[in-house]
Symmetry: C2
Subunit: 424 residues, 2 copies
């Protein structure tokens, strides 16, 4: 039997889940792995605040030093979220020789290189399975299981809130605003929803996944990002008529030495495995040169699924002889041989409102042809008040060409209502 003493940084939803899991699974952990895990200290903002999980008062502290400099504590579990002070605390813990397990995608996306460096220099571990996709083993699959692969594509639904909103908009035909308000009421979206609906959360997670997949650091600012706030239920309905499902995607592709890393809503063919990933589920679709296509799906958020990943990491950390930093050399530093592009090729869905007049359709078609954007299908919908709705779907075209074709449309005759990428 080996005794493991851990400290928590933070004790909100996830921290409470980890505490409950450690208590409820205590005997199995002892029996299966010969480990007795004792929580020594928990850093909280306010020791007197009522909590959903019962914790002995002597465990709680408002002084970070009681965790970070506590000589009894060898493992620090971080659940504070946000870049600071979480990063500073984790660095202090690592420099004090403690192994860190974190669920913090923001701190990792922003300061991975610093955290990894500190962990290596001080011979301790840095574990972060819980930072992406909750219980789904995304990190271990990318960093360990698929080591023998040149990963060419990672396509993921990794933000539960936006997937929930788009799924409900599709199912109920409601507007973005209505569903968002309801999600907020149900606690499924934050009072300030920007981190989710603007794709910030997904971009942080994609930064981590892409860095692992391509063995070079992909920083947050290198990620193209577009939110779901402009999505109309009309587009979801029109897409569905064409066999397309709208999903909040995080996408990383490598072709030769060129990378494209982007977060935005996108249409997928209804037959694509990701298009049936509904509600609060997360899923990661991976294509590697040896493994071929693969998809992992599961609970991407919630106290217990996240706790499953955190405690899984903790058990691994407690059992290894020496912590591995398998990807440091290649993921914590940029790779100058790789180029980031924002001129990727994909298909596009475009909804226009056009004057119902002779020659307008021809002029629209010309605009696209002039920029070498080939149109795969064009549908004209219910005319009203002298205007028609036009839905175009293009063949694969470069992003810049598409943008200049759209910009060249005559705004007096044609209004662009929406442009949505169509992935496959």
């Amino acid at each position: 039997m080996k005794r493991i003493r851990v400290g928590f940084l933070g004790c909100g939803n996830v921290g409470g889940g980890v505490y409950r899991l450690l208590e409820g699974f205590r005997e199995e952990i002892l029996h299966r792995y010969g480990l007795q895990i004792d929580v020594e200290k928990i850093l909280v903002r306010n020791v007197t605040k009522p909590r959903s999980v019962e914790i002995p008062e002597c465990m709680l502290t408002e002084d970070p030093g009681e965790v970070l400099e506590n000589p009894d504590i060898a493992f620090v579990l971080e659940f504070m979220g946000g870049e600071e002070p979480a990063t500073a605390y984790m660095l202090r813990a690592l420099k004090a020789g403690k192994t860190v397990v974190t669920a913090n995608k923001v701190a990792l996306a922003m300061n991975w290189h610093l955290l990894q460096k500190a962990a290596m220099e001080h011979g301790c571990g840095l574990y972060y399975e819980a930072s992406v996709g909750g219980a789904i083993p995304v990190i271990s699959t990318l960093s360990t299981s698929l080591r023998a692969n040149r990963i060419e594509k990672v396509m993921a639904i990794i933000n539960g809130t936006t997937n929930y909103i788009l799924s409900r908009m599709a199912r109920e035909g409601q507007s973005y605003e209505t569903v968002l308000r309801d999600a907020q009421r149900l606690g499924l979206a934050e009072p300030d929803p920007a981190s989710d609906v603007d794709g910030i959360d997904a971009a942080c997670k994609l930064s981590i996944m892409a860095s692992l997949a391509f063995h070079c650091r992909v920083t947050y600012p290198q990620i193209y990002r577009e939110g779901i706030t402009e999505i109309s239920d009309v587009d979801i309905r029109m897409g569905r008529e064409m066999g397309l499902t709208l999903k909040p995607l995080a996408l990383a592709k490598r072709e030769g030495d060129t990378l494209e890393i982007r977060v935005h809503p996108a249409f997928l063919p209804a037959s694509h495995p990701l298009s049936s990933v509904d509600g609060s589920f997360n899923a990661v679709y991976i294509h590697g040169h040896a493994c071929g296509d693969m998809m992992l799906q599961g609970r991407g958020a919630g106290d217990m699924p996240t706790a499953s990943a955190v405690v899984g990491d903790l058990l691994q950390a407690a059992m290894v002889e020496k912590h591995m930093h398998p990807t440091f050399a290649n993921t914590a530093e940029p790779d100058s041989s790789l180029v980031f592009t924002d001129n990727w090729k994909t298909r596009y869905y475009i909804r226009l409102s056009a004057m119902d007049a002779v020659g307008v359709l021809a002029r629209v078609a010309d605009c696209f042809a002039e920029k070498n954007v080939s149109i795969a299908s064009m549908v004209q919908k219910d005319a009203a008040e002298g205007r028609v709705m036009l839905i175009l779907v293009t063949h694969e075209a470069p992003e810049h060409a598409l943008a200049s074709a759209v910009a060249a449309l005559d705004p007096r005759k044609v209004q662009v209502q929406s442009v949505i990428r169509v992935e496959s």
Copy 2:
């Protein structure tokens, strides 16, 4: 840079794939992991046989000792398949202090305890990610990522051949025999298909998955097994009309201290994530008390997907300080506190051919009622020649009660055409 010398046992489809992957990915492996992997010797049955991959003749040998007792070789990769002589060779390699990476589900299902014991006693590693689900990280998910979970259910499609056959029968409305013959012609089914169509292959893989999931050895003979050879296209069609998809399932459940471990074709609701796993794809659906529902899907067979798992294991084995046998204490030995049942509860689809006479339907209903099997729906189909087709779907009922209800039907009036379990 660290030099790793490996020997192969066997060089068929998978061995050839591993050789190609090691050659084609050589530079990346060196750059990313600082490892130079050299194949020293390859045991084959016939050194002069032409091969799909070009291998220097000096590497080939027909003498197992040149691999197993070769002091230069530290890692042995086994691709022979079958229980013997693979098990004996792996034991020899382990006893000589070599780490073994294997894709051999039969040897593992039958002799796991011996292999694990030898690996532990001699301080070397035993790696087998490739034994189940090809490139899909099933083993690492069950044995490592989900350590903090009490796994309650594993439900899997892990035999590509039978999934291909049932998928094509569903799509084309063809008979089992026709599709099997075509699959054999295409090389997707063996000339002797028993291992696949009788569920033997799936049961070996389920033995490995269930042992890991439940932390006790689940041996091959403890697994209930039924093949797909009796499946009629009529049932696939009737099921579909009721929103059910027929899949070749491997299923392991734990409720309290009771285990049920079984391989058989089963209907799933069309909305179940496993029901859209088609053709040669494999998928594993897992429910754990903390992680909730999770599904992993991907290429379960083929030279390169399997090579992805083998080389992934090899890289892990080459990089660790000390090999972990995280599950030995709990998986290599039976657990006397757990009980195996064959009287599980599930729903049933039953197709009957009954005499079209007054009272027959009532008598059928009575038979089920007498055994306390409750019928959820009953459909009567196209009568012909004085007989009708009856399709019953029951509510959840114990297997034994269902069997005795079916046995109690009067064979002069009612013939049982098929009984298929309905899972959810």
